[in-house]
Symmetry: C2
Subunit: 197 residues, 2 copies
DNA sequence: GTTTCACCATAACGACCGTTACAGTAGGCC
DNA sequence: GGCCTACTGTAACGGTCGTTATGGTGAAAC
């Protein structure tokens, strides 16, 4: 939680601008000047709020992670059936990309290839992976699937495939097939139906 | 095709060094100096062979694309059964990553997020996508699958999922499940078996 | 033996980028 | 009023990176 009387406007504007630019143009490709110009913030103010560009990147990823988790929580709260709860990842992706303008796929997937090994933002990439695996394994166990680890691995494969395909569709137009997320959900549903005891 | 009496050593050394460094550390993260030092080549020689760093990147991607296509061709030549031929993508990935030291997933997937829209290397990313979709659609039609486009889209989803998962495993250790490629192949085989007329 | 060609080593330039410093301003609080 | 806080605007520094220029080496060609 930020300090109680922290100035909201500048920090929020920076985070919003960084979120849009980092996601759309890539983290390494967008300079600090572009973020400052879009946010209407002076350099000194930014360096008073964040620990350099790396700190801003980490805050951007933390924000994405929190928003994504909340979106998934909201979807999960609406589902009661065990299978629906297991497949809610794909519904959450759909809702998440509807709320935000997500036409470049998973921000964490792109960040994973851009950030160097010691970067502070990598913490949130790991947090994202851990959240996904832990929840999917737990939800798979609730479904009564015989091997929750195996189910989680399969779901993760389809999940990453959908997001990766989404990223490719952003630059290479006219790819065959319908929406990758709905296709992944359909495949996951069939797999669950075939493996339920 | 290069000029007939082109000097092999320097150009090849550059391409080898660039291939290792670009793949391992990322394209944007590795400077020209690192490639020159690894190849033992002076700057002037490099700029005589390639059109700047962008040209070197494009040549690197072209080399990867050619090698990948040849690897797939070799695997395909050994298969006679239609289903085996359709699933040969995953075997080719296995062989490709055995020949090269591929522990960071698909080079094209990483390049797709790094290269800016107008980069000359994007041509080979598109060529890679086109090769995959065209071949999978054709092989799916040979298998007798009712909807080759649908089959190609499913196979592509699993293919991208496996490579994307491979990329994540490079930085985030201890992910659940066995090898993503063999898992993707297993899922693809089950899907084909279920949808064959 | 001289020409030629591919190549090496070093240095320098110019641009960009992340970062910091400095001076100045609007608004809330006592 | 005076003070403090959060902020703006501009400018500059230091480093990195891609690129180019210059001079020189070795070996093959004729």
């Amino acid at each position: 939680m930020p300090p109680p009387t922290a100035s909201r406007p500048a920090r929020d504007r920076l985070l919003t601008a960084a979120g849009a630019l980092f996601y759309e143009s890539g983290i390494a490709a967008t300079g600090v000047d572009a973020v400052l110009a879009r946010a209407g913030v002076s350099p000194a103010t930014m360096y008073a709020h964040f620990a350099g560009k790396d700190g801003l990147v980490a805050a951007y990823l933390e924000d994405r992670h929190t928003t994504w988790r909340q979106t998934w929580d909201a979807v999960l709260a609406e589902r009661t059936d065990a299978v629906d709860r297991l497949l809610s990842v794909f519904d959450a992706v759909d809702r998440f990309r509807g709320e935000q303008g997500n036409r470049r796929g998973c921000a964490f997937l792109a960040a994973a290839t851009e950030l160097p090994p010691g970067h502070p933002g990598r913490r949130w990439l790991d947090a994202d992976s851990e959240l996904l695996t832990a929840r999917l394994r737990e939800l798979a166990a609730d479904t009564g699937l015989p091997d929750p680890d195996d189910a989680a691995a399969t779901l993760l494969l389809l999940y990453d495939g959908a997001l990766s395909r989404l990223a490719r569709a952003a630059t290479t137009p006219a790819l065959p097939g319908d929406d990758p997320v709905t296709r992944a959900r359909r495949l996951a549903a069939a797999w669950v139906a075939a493996h339920r005891g």
